[in-house]
């Protein structure tokens, strides 16, 4: 409102004012369309909220309700003791809740643990700490480092099926001055002391290594070979969901030539678990 009013005032009796007004109108139209789209999304989400969410009864003096899933968002409501809330969804360490009177907001899991369900049992929310780290099932990681002088980059996906053993899928790509390689492996990782903050591990696996020499330098064919992998490293639990991971891998490339090739890889990265 203010904007149009000011613009009119400013452009009174001036010929170029028309242009400005058209421009302003266009901006207003764009903003209106954008807003309409946003509001449509809002209504859509309001409609899909008829469901059978878990209900929790507050078992402490009060729980803070914030406008967003973060510690900086303002607290706009306090859920009282014995009030029943619906648990709509969770993002990181925040739970979106709705009261019976229709107030919707986000509460932190540490406060939400002081609630109980319809069956009278106290509710617990996994959250990232060392206990959770020791009980983790899935983990994903990004890492970078050096593979025989080339820049190496990789991603891992792990499933921990016992306390000490993890099955892992490793993908890695190295880009060097003379050749590029891609390595895909499956491996089994053993952690003898999973509870240590700095916990060593050993890894064994097999995979495929694709090597393509730099075409501007040498004219040789791309090759694809089977590789065997042994390695060792350490998990260092940082905090929350973060684990620092340092590792050394030794690949034996089973080439079609007389001699096998040996490739060394050093990597540093981080894993997150969930």
């Amino acid at each position: 409102m203010n904007l149009t009013h000011d613009a009119e005032h400013f452009n009174k009796g001036q010929a170029p004012g028309m242009k400005t007004r058209v421009f302003l109108n266009r901006i207003t139209a764009t903003i209106a369309i954008g807003t309409a789209l946003l509001l449509m999304c809002q209504t859509a989400s309001a409609e899909d909220e008829i469901s059978d969410h878990e209900r929790a009864t507050v078992d402490t003096s009060y729980i803070d309700m914030r406008t967003g899933p973060g510690r900086g968002y303002p607290i706009f409501y306090a859920i009282e003791q014995d009030e029943i809330v619906e648990l709509i969804k969770r993002r990181t360490d925040w739970v979106k809740v709705r009261t019976r009177r229709g107030k919707t907001g986000w509460a932190h899991v540490s406060q939400m643990e002081e609630t109980f369900g319809a069956d009278g049992k106290q509710l617990s929310f996994n959250h990232a700490n060392k206990d959770e780290y020791l009980a983790r099932r899935w983990e994903i990681g990004f890492n970078g480092g050096d593979l025989e002088g080339a820049n190496a980059l990789g991603a891992t996906l792990g499933y921990r099926f016992t306390q000490n053993l993890t099955a892992e899928l490793k993908l890695s790509q190295a880009t060097g001055q003379f050749s590029d390689s891609k390595i895909g492996s499956i491996a089994v990782m053993h952690q003898p002391f999973p509870e240590w903050r700095v916990s060593p591990f050993f890894i064994m696996g097999t995979g495929i290594i694709d090597t393509s020499p730099d075409t501007t330098l040498v004219q040789t064919e791309d090759r694809s070979d089977t590789s065997l992998l042994v390695g060792a490293g350490a998990y260092i639990y940082m905090n929350r969901r973060f684990v620092l991971r340092l590792e050394y891998n030794n690949y034996q490339v089973l080439t079609s030539r007389d001699e096998n090739e040996e490739v060394n890889e050093w990597k540093l990265g981080f894993n997150v678990f969930f």
Partner: protein, 223 residues
């Protein structure tokens, strides 16, 4: 936290017991056999020990989406770029993201001016990249539209590494960027991103580090 709560319960259970026994001991000494119901009521809290179970709540920490924008590849023009984005929100502050994007580059000015010189074939002009990055939500906040609506938003910084496939070659690539995420709802977000992709190539004779700027808008869905 769980252990904290358990500890709390244990102390809630053990402490009154200990107090009770010592109190009884004292009362037995002084009043010999008096049960002292008044004191008992004061010191034993009215807490029932509850069983604990996992709350059933849907977790939405993954984000998937598409983006489209423009990307400048040094010497090879500015062109449309499109791609896919997958992210995992680790905490309210940190997220990890994987991106894949493709663009087609144009002829260099040198190729245009000389008329006949061709540096790359048509296929080689296609550029694709992927990267793995770590992002940090620097300024979380809210955006207001009129006095009725408020939308949560984040301004984030992001950095990572990846590979660019250009001119039949793989190039190790760093990326650095800033972005803005506006939550249209809890599970739909609109992104505006600016990224710099830095890599080295020798297509024009000698090794050269190039900065390739990209600006894009995207939409993502949380699941």
């Amino acid at each position: 936290m769980e252990t904290g709560i358990q500890r709390l319960f244990l102390s809630a259970l053990v402490l009154p017991l200990a107090l009770l026994t010592s109190a009884e001991h004292v009362s037995a000494q002084t009043e010999s056999g008096d049960q002292n119901p008044g004191l008992d009521r004061v010191i034993s809290p009215d807490t029932k020990r509850r069983e604990i179970r996992q709350a059933e709540v849907d977790t939405e920490d993954f984000e998937i989406g598409i983006f489209y924008g423009v990307m400048n590849v040094e010497d090879f023009g500015t062109n449309g770029v499109g791609g896919l984005r997958l992210a995992y929100h680790i905490t309210e502050d940190f997220f990890m993201e994987a991106n894949y994007g493709i663009t087609t580059t144009r002829e260099t000015s040198f190729e245009k001016l000389s008329g006949s010189t061709v540096i790359l074939t048509d296929d080689q002009r296609d550029l694709s990249y992927y990267n793995l990055s770590l992002g940090y939500n620097l300024f979380p906040g809210e955006i207001f539209i009129s006095d009725k609506y408020a939308f949560n938003s984040n301004f984030y910084i992001i950095a990572g590494a990846g590979n660019t496939n250009f001119a039949d070659e793989e190039h190790f690539t760093y990326n650095l960027g800033i972005g803005f995420r506006l939550y249209a709802t809890d599970w739909i977000a609109i992104h505006l991103d600016v990224r710099d992709h830095v890599f080295e190539h020798d297509l024009l004779g000698e090794d050269q580090v190039i900065n390739n700027l990209e600006a894009h808008a995207g939409i993502t869905f949380f699941f």
